[in-house]
């Protein structure tokens, strides 16, 4: 093996979209190949898990880790790759803040299992549920343990950098790869540890071409209830609950550009501690009323405040500091 720096990429509880985004960087992938030895990347090459275990600690220069920590095996891999990596990047929304699968933290594992294994199409009269260890006639079988909540990567291991997005846009990935290559050659400096990389430092609104008129709204509108979306005007000012004001820039406002609301996949904008709190402030500022009852009425036109404000960020949000409601109720039952 050459003495080039080593690169790894791994997926924990994720959808694979992050891997597709990396593959979509096109010819840039050749730069990765030219500058790194790719030592571990299950989607693109033969996975060498045992080789990773055998490596010296911190011998992988750069690891992109995507996916949340949903079960015991995800956590074991996170710990292994942390140990072996010099720079561990929390890659994509799942690893950074939990993403859509993090919405499971509103529910108990029992509720998740009940929903999955007792659907209308499920034939399960005995109420069978998967179990970590099961004895079949021929012997014992094991599967990983499903954790009570989905955790972000930095809740199980220390992380050097955060790269947001669901998935991170390919041009941002390419820029990060360029930066790391330049830094390894001593031609650039890496940002301080803990920094967010591969994204902007303002909000999606700042890169959205739509016009804002500081117009206030009398109610929120569901996108399907509009005959047509005005192609020029700010979506929020059309009443559509757009998450742009709280969401970090970096994607180029892809969704608002095609008439769909920003759903917040790039996470909290720079300096924002809690995405939901920031978005609530932003929504409050467009509400056209000073009357508390009227304000309540307008807020009631948002059908799902919890999901609206914490759609991607629940697992990593301040809410996790409190015990989930389901946990308290299950304890009281016990």
């Amino acid at each position: 093996m050459s003495d080039k720096p080593k690169f790894a990429m791994y997926w924990a509880a994720s959808c694979g979209g992050c891997e597709i985004a990396v593959l979509n960087i096109g010819e840039k992938i050749l730069d990765v190949d030219a500058n790194f030895d790719v030592v571990f990347w299950p989607v693109a090459m033969d996975a060498k898990y045992k080789d990773v275990e055998a490596m010296a600690d911190e011998s992988i220069t750069l690891t992109f880790f995507n996916g949340g920590i949903r079960n015991s095996e995800n956590e074991a891999l996170a710990k292994l790759l942390r140990r072996k990596s010099k720079i561990l990047v929390s890659f994509g929304s799942c690893a950074c803040e939990g993403c859509i699968p993090g919405l499971a933290n509103f529910s108990s594992p029992r509720e998740v299992f009940d929903a999955a294994y007792a659907t209308v199409s499920t034939d399960n009269p005995d109420g069978t549920r998967p179990a970590v260890r099961v004895t079949v006639p021929e012997g014992d079988l094991e599967i990983p343990e499903f954790y009570p909540v989905l955790k972000t990567l930095d809740q199980v291991v220390p992380v050097d950098y955060y790269m947001p997005g669901c998935p991170p846009e390919s041009h941002q990935i390419a820029a990060v790869i360029d930066l790391v290559i330049a830094a390894l050659k001593g031609e650039a400096e890496l940002p301080p540890p803990g920094a967010t990389i591969g994204a902007g430092d303002s909000t999606v609104c700042d890169e959205c071409p739509r016009t804002r008129n500081i117009k206030k709204i009398k109610s929120f509108t569901r996108i399907q209830d509009l005959v047509s979306v005005d192609p020029e005007l700010c979506l929020l000012e059309q009443g559509i609950p757009c998450n742009g004001p709280a969401t970090r820039s970096g994607c180029g406002a892809l969704c608002p550009k095609v008439g769909a609301q920003c759903i917040g996949c790039y996470g909290a904008a720079d300096g924002v501690v809690d995405f939901g709190a920031r978005l609530m402030t932003a929504f409050a500022s467009v509400i056209d009323s000073d009357d508390p009852d009227d304000i309540d009425r307008i807020l009631d036109t948002l059908p799902d405040p919890a999901g609206q404000f914490y759609r991607f960020s629940l697992a990593g949000s301040l809410l996790r500091a409190a015990k989930p409601a389901w946990m308290a109720s299950e304890e009281s039952v016990a």
Binding site: S14, G16, P42, A116
Partner: protein, 496 residues
């Protein structure tokens, strides 16, 4: 009892393994293919506004988010009992055809092709896309990259994003197509048709022209007599986006066709405690375990299944290929009243290329439709939302989304039967059959065993992104043979 553990390495770290148990004679007693992950979408989507489902369920699978986006949008239409304007449906279908074109191209050239073009016995180092390029010529690599790029471009033009499209909403779509975009798509579509024809010719020359490969395709090891399902239009032609789901028996008799809302009359899922993934089966036939035949409810949902469940293809060039497919692989005339059925799993690769050609021809058809650039792309729902089912054909199998909402359109219940999951039972059976043929009286056919098992997998193009999250990829395999005390006595490895 002796135990053999096959760990696809990526799965070893989290996404699936195979356990093979031998009996006292050293023959295969049983095999278990375990899928060890669950994320719980059916629970945590409850409480969300229904129009977010085409966006939330994208995140089930980053390989085929387009399929979840479309099934979600169609289920939303059904929840609101709203019929999108024709141009909106054309646009959704055009996006979806672009996606199919990219996805099938990737599978054939990067994953399945090497086995055939290079040969299953070729050195591992050559059995990859680079090996194909070296053998067939450098320009083919450029063509494959171009094909993927064009498919993605169509997805992004209509869906707004390369990964996780965002434009389909209840009643239609948020964006219409400009004339310039239409012209670009039309050009790409015409190129795509030529590329698909080129791919079929390649398959014809290299695979069908080689007796060894034909024997492998027709051999017993990759043969299973199961039911097949696939969506068909009103002429019983294959359709990816809309129609009825046709159910075909192993003997070529059509058991029936079901509309999306009738799926629970036809499909049921079985839970086993040793895996997180459920086993779907045909309810009308019943669960008899992981066995072949007309009395077993096990069915398959793949490109091969779609061809078997249909009476033909809706575009002329693909129809010609469809006819050649059946006359070549089922030379005997079918019993009157039945259609010929191909049960050879490796023929799935050929079927996939026929679908590739259909997708390409369909891109041209759709982009040529005068209404494709209409700005009438959304109907505002007026009915109270209640319950709805949406079905599309994901490349890896029929995809069903079923939503229940309150009167505000907020989800109260969700049921998803996803692409690859349909094939969990047949994949498990293929693994068992490969193991049985390769392990007898305690003798393990070491040479070729791993690749034979791997080829059984690959025919289904298993994408456990939907269940776990493996991309359809080369399966690094490790087989550990253990004695009765659990001590390893031999280890076989491939790609690891």
């Amino acid at each position: 009892m002796k135990r053999i553990t096959i760990d696809p390495i990526t799965r070893l770290e989290g996404h699936g393994k195979i356990e093979i148990f031998l009996d006292d004679e050293g023959d295969v007693a049983n095999t278990y293919f375990q899928v060890p992950e669950l994320r719980g979408f059916e629970r945590f989507c409850v409480g969300r506004p229904v129009e977010e489902m085409p966006l939330l369920t994208n995140r089930i699978c980053g390989v085929c988010p387009e399929a979840h986006h479309m099934a979600g949008a169609k289920a939303c239409d059904a929840v609101y009992k709203v019929d999108p304007p024709r141009p909106a449906k054309l646009l959704r279908e055009l996006l979806y055809s672009g996606f199919y074109f990219t996805d099938h191209t990737t599978h054939f050239y990067a994953l399945a092709g090497p086995d055939f073009v290079m040969g299953p016995d070729a050195p591992v180092a050559q059995r990859n896309i680079l090996g194909i390029i070296h053998k067939v010529g450098l320009e083919i690599g450029g063509k494959v990259i171009q094909a993927r790029k064009y498919g993605h471009a169509i997805v992004e033009m209509i869906g707004g994003r390369k990964v996780h499209p965002c434009t389909s909403i209840p009643g239609g779509i948020t964006k219409h197509l400009t004339n310039e975009e239409r012209d670009q798509i039309l050009e790409m579509g015409k190129w795509a048709v030529e590329f698909a024809q080129f791919s079929l010719k390649l398959f014809n020359d290299i695979v069908l022209g080689n007796k060894t490969y034909v024997d492998l395709i027709l051999g017993d090891i990759y043969h299973h007599r199961t039911y097949y399902i696939g969506t068909v239009d009103d002429q019983n032609k294959v359709n990816f986006y809309d129609g009825l789901v046709s159910v075909m028996s192993p003997d070529g008799e059509r058991l029936g066709k079901y509309a999306a809302h009738e799926y629970t009359d036809w499909i049921a899922e079985r839970v086993e405690p040793w895996t997180y993934l459920k086993f779907p089966y045909l309810k009308k036939v019943g669960w008899k375990g992981l066995v072949d035949g007309k009395d077993s409810g096990v069915y398959c949902a793949t490109p091969l299944s779609r061809l078997n469940a249909a009476d033909g293809m809706a575009t002329p060039l693909a129809q010609e290929e469809y006819e050649r497919f059946y006359t070549t692989l089922v030379p005997d005339k079918a019993t009157p009243g039945t259609k010929p059925i191909v049960h050879h799993r490796l023929a799935t690769h050929w079927a996939r290329l026929i679908e590739l050609l259909y997708a390409a021809e369909h891109i041209v058809e759709l982009a040529s439709d005068p209404e494709i650039t209409s700005d009438n792309v959304h109907t505002v729902p007026t009915e109270t939302p209640t319950e709805g089912v949406g079905i599309v054909e994901a490349p890896r199998g029929t995809l069903t989304h079923h939503y229940w909402t309150d009167e505000r359109g907020v989800l109260t219940k969700v049921n998803l039967v996803v692409g690859t999951t349909n094939n969990y039972a047949p994949i498990s059976m293929s693994i068992k059959k490969a193991a049985e043929q390769l392990i007898t009286k305690g003798t393990v056919v070491t040479e070729g065993m791993l690749n034979m098992v791997e080829m059984a997998f690959r025919a289904y193009d298993p994408c456990f992104g939907c269940a776990t999250h493996s991309l359809p990829g080369r399966m690094p395999l490790q087989v550990t043979i253990r004695d009765a005390c659990g001590e390893p006595i031999d280890v076989l490895k491939q790609y690891c």
